[in-house]
């Protein structure tokens, strides 16, 4: 059997709807990951070991277990605890939580990358703790982290098809449905592959360009 352009053309509008859901889930998930990751980082740096160590273990646990199983937990176990969320919301929270453990690592290395002299200088100037962060540390820690955060956003985009297991109608779910209805998977599955490439390649290229501008080259030793 060969490629059927007519069928491919027919399925396109529905696939583009699915693409919208996929992109929306990625954006919302990224937003959660960016905020939650920062919270994780702050907790991991806490001076109390009763906060720092459990957070470290939790982050390590979430990061080393599959997103797919985490989605199942959120989807099937949360309602039992009386928390009813739509499938889309559940998926977005799952993506955000999973990737927060990665962004937390990025923030951490960004903060650790600020030379110790900067902390000492801020202290010598008697800056209040908040200004130390807002005027000295974060302006130097955040820009070099942006490309790595962008890479994780792309990685999240490519993991959104897993939301198909909790009935979110994103790209892969739409393709599966079309394939099952028409007994023809070739066109929809190929088109979504091309759509993924068409979105992730330019974004990756942009991130790489940004990387060259924002990340200082390692100093010669």
């Amino acid at each position: 059997m060969t490629w059927d352009w007519g069928y491919a053309w027919e399925t396109l509008p529905q696939l583009l709807d699915g693409l919208g859901v996929t992109v929306l889930a990625t954006l919302a998930g990224t937003a959660i990951a960016l905020v939650l990751g920062l919270i994780f980082t702050v907790l991991r740096r806490s001076s109390s070991r009763w906060i720092a160590i459990p957070t470290e273990i939790l982050v390590e646990f979430i990061r080393s277990t599959p997103l797919l199983v985490q989605l199942f937990v959120l989807f099937f176990v949360l309602p039992q605890a009386g928390i009813e969320l739509s499938a889309f919301m559940t998926g977005v929270i799952g993506l955000g939580l999973h990737y927060a453990t990665y962004t937390s690592e990025v923030y951490r290395s960004g903060i650790e990358g600020v030379p110790a002299g900067q902390w000492e200088a801020a202290k010598a100037l008697n800056l209040p703790a908040r200004r130390v962060w807002t005027s000295v540390i974060l302006p130097q820690a955040v820009p070099p982290s942006i490309p790595a955060l962008g890479n994780y956003a792309i990685a999240m985009f490519k993991e959104t098809p897993q939301l198909t297991v909790i009935t979110v109608m994103e790209l892969l779910s739409v393709a599966r449905q079309l394939g099952a209805e028409n007994y023809r998977y070739l066109e929809p599955v190929t088109i979504i592959g091309v759509l993924f490439l068409a979105l992730s390649l330019p974004t990756a290229w942009l991130v790489r360009r940004m990387e060259r501008r924002l990340v200082p080259a390692p100093r010669p030793v």
Binding site: S64, T65, V69, K158, G179
Partner: protein
């Protein structure tokens, strides 16, 4: 839990291990082939390496797997689902691994290569005897991370009905109706597998670092202690 359900879980665990180790072995071959290709002076070889990396890094592993299982049969190729799973995961992880290989090779100091040239080594000898032994030491920590990513990634095989650990978990859940404990057990099993894999990679790292006379990278517990002092 009945012995039969336990047997399902055990089988699922073995399938997950097969998928992980199979895809890791095949992915390693792809990584080195493409990674070394991107360092080639020949533009065609370099381009082929880059194309492979960009193509398979840009596409979702799950979509690729779906394509192998549902679209490839139209072209007359019916892969066994298990092989489709290993191939899709290996192609995907291999693209990330190729970047690691490339990064490791590029990081070897130029003086090392110049010294090999001065000693009249051929290009293959230079790669095999001077560049790779040093590069591999640098590649191991990121390879360890990729291995964990791969282990987590194998769970998508469940969606094309490969009876892996996640699949077995679903069977147990349907039989017992207890979602919370089954999924918690699954998460813990995956985490334990991840710890085992990480430990193995760390032992290899330590050996390689020792053979090159370098200090090993700090482990998880050393990092936790670091949290306290920071």
């Amino acid at each position: 839990m009945s012995p039969q359900l336990f047997a399902y879980l055990l089988e699922g665990l073995l399938t997950t291990l097969q998928l992980t180790i199979g895809a890791a072995a095949l992915g390693l071959v792809f990584s080195f082939a493409a990674g070394i290709a991107t360092c080639s002076p020949n533009i065609v070889v370099r381009g082929a390496g880059r194309c492979y990396i960009e193509l398979f890094r840009g596409i979702s592993a799950l979509v690729l797997l779906f394509w192998f299982v549902f679209a490839l049969p139209y072209a007359g190729w019916q892969l066994d689902p298990m092989w489709a799973g290993i191939l899709a995961l290996a192609l995907n992880i291999g693209a990330y691994g190729a970047e690691v290989v490339r990064g490791g090779i590029v990081a070897v100091p130029v003086a090392q290569i110049e010294a090999a040239v001065a000693l009249n080594f051929t290009r293959a000898q230079r790669m095999r005897l001077v560049v790779l032994p040093q590069a591999i030491a640098r590649m191991l920590p990121p390879f360890g991370n990729l291995l964990i990513e791969l282990l987590k990634g194998t769970s998508v095989a469940y969606i094309v009905l490969i009876p892996d650990l996640t699949f077995a978990g679903q069977i147990v859940r349907n039989a017992t109706g207890d979602s919370a404990s089954v999924f918690t057990a699954l998460l813990i099993l995956y985490a334990v597998l991840a710890v085992i894999f990480t430990t193995i990679v760390r032992l290899i790292e330590r050996r390689v670092a020792k053979s090159l006379g370098r200090p090993p990278t700090p482990g998880f517990f050393a990092r936790i202690k670091g949290v306290k002092s920071a």
